[in-house]
Symmetry: C2
Subunit: 146 residues, 2 copies
């Protein structure tokens, strides 16, 4: 069964998932952040079948997450680069990462601040005055009430 | 083609996606945060086919995101509730939401601080001393170096 498109859904979570709502797409974006640009690079690092990769890349381009550009070395290859919209997924990837770390399993890398080389604080919500907020301290309300 | 399991992958992004790596699973979690508990409630609010919903719920339970509990009204129904691990997905959902909002489209709800009813700050990384950090200010390094 084909799912109805979520592209015009009122909920921003649903709209986002229309662009990157499956494991492969998110992993392709992760590889793009790690500097991968070519079809063959994605294929090797993800060990994904060509047809699956081709479909996902096409969708990520259609949704404006990646863009196709001529190869940086002047060869005939096409390369895929994150658009500005795509780079906005950094926070999503890091939130997924943080959740994965919190669920146990070994952690092989740490996110650090380039300036002082210290680990960054865990991602959290803050009130306008800087107080840290947990899920229980927040509420989603209609935009007209805020 | 069946994808290799990512459950034991070294990368916490990949491990997380094994639990909630598709649009339906994330939307089920969104509905659970909104208070939905029963099969029929998820089915109606997501307009999803019974077989798809059943598979996703089973997977979310197997991965420890949801747990099955007897119905709160004492009826024979089973209910699905977020586990502690599942509630940890709040930040992931909100990061996805924030990305969706940044990509345009109308926003019908706003996340506010319950205490002062003001919108919360956009989610962002902070250094140990409180400086806000963009993607360019951070780096993933091997855990042994940090």
């Amino acid at each position: 069964m084909r799912r109805k498109s979520l592209e015009k859904d009122a909920c921003p979570v649903a709209r986002s998932l229309e662009a990157v709502g499956d494991a492969w797409s998110v992993l392709i974006v992760r590889e793009a952040f790690a500097g991968k640009r070519r079809f063959g690079e994605f294929e090797r690092s993800l060990r994904v079948a060509k047809n699956i990769l081709a479909v996902r890349l096409r969708k990520l381009v259609a949704r404006g997450v990646l863009e196709q550009v001529p190869a940086s070395d002047g060869s005939v290859h096409q390369e895929y680069m994150l658009t500005e919209k795509g780079r906005g997924l950094y926070l999503v990837l890091m939130a997924i990462r943080q959740w994965g770390e919190g669920c146990g399993g070994k952690t092989e890398s740490v996110l650090i601040d380039r300036r002082d080389r210290k680990p960054v604080k865990p991602l959290a919500f803050h009130a306008h005055d800087g107080r840290e907020l947990g899920p229980g301290g927040m509420e989603l309300v209609p935009a007209s009430d805020a």
